[in-house]
């Protein structure tokens, strides 16, 4: 019991790390959850951000902006500086900056050569999003000019063009698997970073402190048997881990406004499996006779690399082939894979192999860690 209690006394020194990683994880989760995407069950047009400066203010330019706003998010370019707009295009918050020159509408209606009066579109030349918006503009203006040439007045032609372009009944989604991308997936997808960093920054250094040479020698001559001491440390580490996991699951469930549904249980099972694997990883690392001070650096490297390569921060489908190959050796990759399967309607049997691979990783790493630890101990004895 003394060792068990001491664990928590030492843990108090690391409460700041715990709070810090909890705040970082929840902050990122909160911001990401506000950008939730839709599923793929039905077709929808991908919305882009566009900064528009309308120097024309004609019926034509207003109609064009109205049409673009039915698909995209329009921002008034005058509200931002040039540098801010460049920043937003670079960081893909905007796809285009559009400048509609004065006299554009009149030239368009007169059928004049619009070469001198084109809409200026600035975009990241390589990005597809910018082309998408430019295609929408050209399509709208070409169809509108067709209706105008057909004898309809501007108001009628704009109405007919809007109605015509809003009709996407010719598109059908043929995917066998329909993805429903709800908030719960975005939020739980990010949790492994919190689990990894909190366990590595709080539990690992405490275990390492108990294993430090001086403390170990003093413990060895105490009346507490080694086995009892190790069980107490393991129990205390387990209690801390369970508390962290429960706290994160509770917060994530509150944020996603979903709990105790069928898929919630599967997601929680996936997270608990990953947490167990991370605990085994912590046990393995704690056997490597490292100094407690290195745990901060270790936490950073493990937290970030496991998260990036495991598809926690960036979806797996975006990763390069090299990253995917390396990622398959990490438990976070199989956590993400299980999340994808749950997202596409998979049940327990569909995610079972993902859970087993995570556990296998943990058992293997822990085994290697224990053997390495014994070798190190023999060498230093």
């Amino acid at each position: 019991m003394i060792v068990f209690k001491s664990f928590f006394k030492v843990l108090r020194n690391y409460k700041m790390s715990l709070i810090m990683y909890l705040v970082i994880s929840l902050g990122v989760i909160y911001i990401l959850s506000s950008f939730n995407t839709k599923g793929n069950a039905t077709y929808y047009r991908v919305s882009q951000g566009i900064a528009v400066q309308d120097n024309d203010k004609s019926e034509i330019s207003k109609g064009l902006i109205e049409y673009l706003s039915t698909i995209n998010g329009i921002k008034n370019a005058a509200d931002y500086t040039d540098d801010q707009i460049t920043d937003m295009i670079y960081y893909t918050k905007l796809s285009n900056r559009l400048l509609i020159p004065a006299g554009f509408g009149e030239a368009y209606l007169n059928g004049a050569d619009t070469a001198a009066l084109k809409i200026e579109s600035t975009k990241e030349a390589g990005a597809r999003m910018g082309y998408s918006v430019e295609t929408e503009i050209d399509s709208y203006l070409n169809l509108l000019s067709g209706y105008l040439a057909g004898g309809f007045n501007v108001e009628e032609a704009q109405k007919l063009t809007m109605e015509a372009l809003a009709d996407n009944s010719a598109v059908s989604v043929v995917a066998d698997v329909k993805v429903e991308d709800d908030k719960i997936f975005t939020i739980f997808q990010m949790l492994p970073y919190g689990i990894l960093t909190m366990l590595f920054s709080a539990v690992l250094p405490v275990i390492l402190r108990f294993g430090s040479m001086l403390l170990k020698k003093r413990s060895d001559i105490s009346s507490t048997p080694v086995l009892k001491r190790q069980i107490s440390i393991a129990l205390a580490a387990g209690v801390v881990s369970v508390f962290i996991v429960i706290a994160l699951i509770t917060l994530a469930s509150v944020l996603s406004e979903e709990a105790f549904t069928g898929r919630w249980w599967l997601i929680v099972l996936n997270l608990v499996t990953l947490s167990l694997t991370v605990v085994m990883l912590v046990v393995a690392v704690s056997n490597l006779n490292m100094k407690p001070e290195v745990s901060a650096g270790f936490t950073n490297v493990v937290g970030l690399s496991f998260s990036f390569l495991g598809g926690i921060f960036v979806p797996i489908e975006y990763l390069g082939s090299g990253a995917k190959v390396i990622g398959q050796f990490l438990p976070t990759y199989w956590y993400s894979e299980a999340m994808t399967r749950i997202k596409t309607g998979g049940g327990f049997n569909d995610i079972l192999n993902c859970l087993l691979i995570q556990l296998l990783f943990g058992v293997m790493v822990m085994g290697v860690g224990l053997v390495a630890g014994r070798c190190i101990e023999k060498r230093t004895a």
Partner: protein, 382 residues
Amino acid sequence: MFINVFKAQLKLGFRNKSNVFWTLMFPIILGTLFKITFGNIYSEYKSESIKTAVVFETDNEDVKSTTKAYLEGLEMDGHKMLDISYMDYDSAVALLKDDEQVNGIISVKDDGRLSLDINSNGVLSTIQETITTIYNQNVGLIEKVAAEHPENLPAVIQTISGRAEYINAHSLAGDNKDPFVSYFYNLLAMTALFAALNSVRIGNNCQANMSTLGARTNASPLSRMTFQAAGFFAAYIVQTAIIFVGLTYMLFGIKINFGGDIPLIYFTTALASFLGTALGFAIGNLGSFAIEKKESILVGITLTGCALSGLMYGDMKVIITEKAPIINKINPAAVISDSYYCLNMFGAGSRYFMTLMYMLILSAVLIALGLFMGRRNHYDSI
């Protein structure tokens, strides 16, 4: 005396193996992993012709040739918009479902209309849908005009066949427009701020009640200011040397294109390291408590700052700029990563020099804070 202390502190800095190891390993390990993770994303995200399967569900040769001419004639910025393969529907569906080897199937119907099958939503599907819809709506336009204003039909057909372009496209200025390079900026910012872990000890090393070295320093005739200045510059040189090795690995080892002039990238990194050292100096002089706690505060500031500047989620910085721009002005990680970004996108212009000024001002404030707090410590007289 300054030189003696400086030399001793320099040795201390280089012999702090744990600190040297981690500061060097961050850019090397994480830089390599970032390179593996983000290396191909931008090239796939860039605009290319969209792989499209076209299926003719009609034997009408006029319809076939008209749609063929329309689809093959679509261009954007000098390259074909669609990369078309003609095949039967079953083969096309197989390709669409097999890891999306084509992005969509355009079927040409008997009535001259087009339909589109896609596997998932996205920018490419939206472009294909716009192409399909506009073609169908041109058919609808002709039907409508033929019914209501038949006299205008030739004019309408002429308008459709002479499809005009209304866009004058410009490319965003800048050297490397890959948004994923910002992860490397933030990684370098984190490494630079971890320079603080080397300078944080200076504060404790001149407080008599915090370390044995502090007691000996206080007992010596050496002025506290000299000790602190020598310690600060030694820590700065150690950290700058380490971070330069990491930067060289990123620039020439894994060939990350930061954008901008390479000497200026090194200059910016040297200033970033100065800011990191200043941060550690300020925290080191913050009150009389254990160095481990001060290190925890530093790691907290660094990681929170890096998270807010986009280390975990690249768009975070621009979100903060929109919602609370002041945070990006005082967040050292954001200031550092912004300086690399400005050098890349705007060159060595006013905005870049502004970020350098921010770094210098922040550093000056932190050093002044450290000196002020460091000289306020008094001990009971015996």
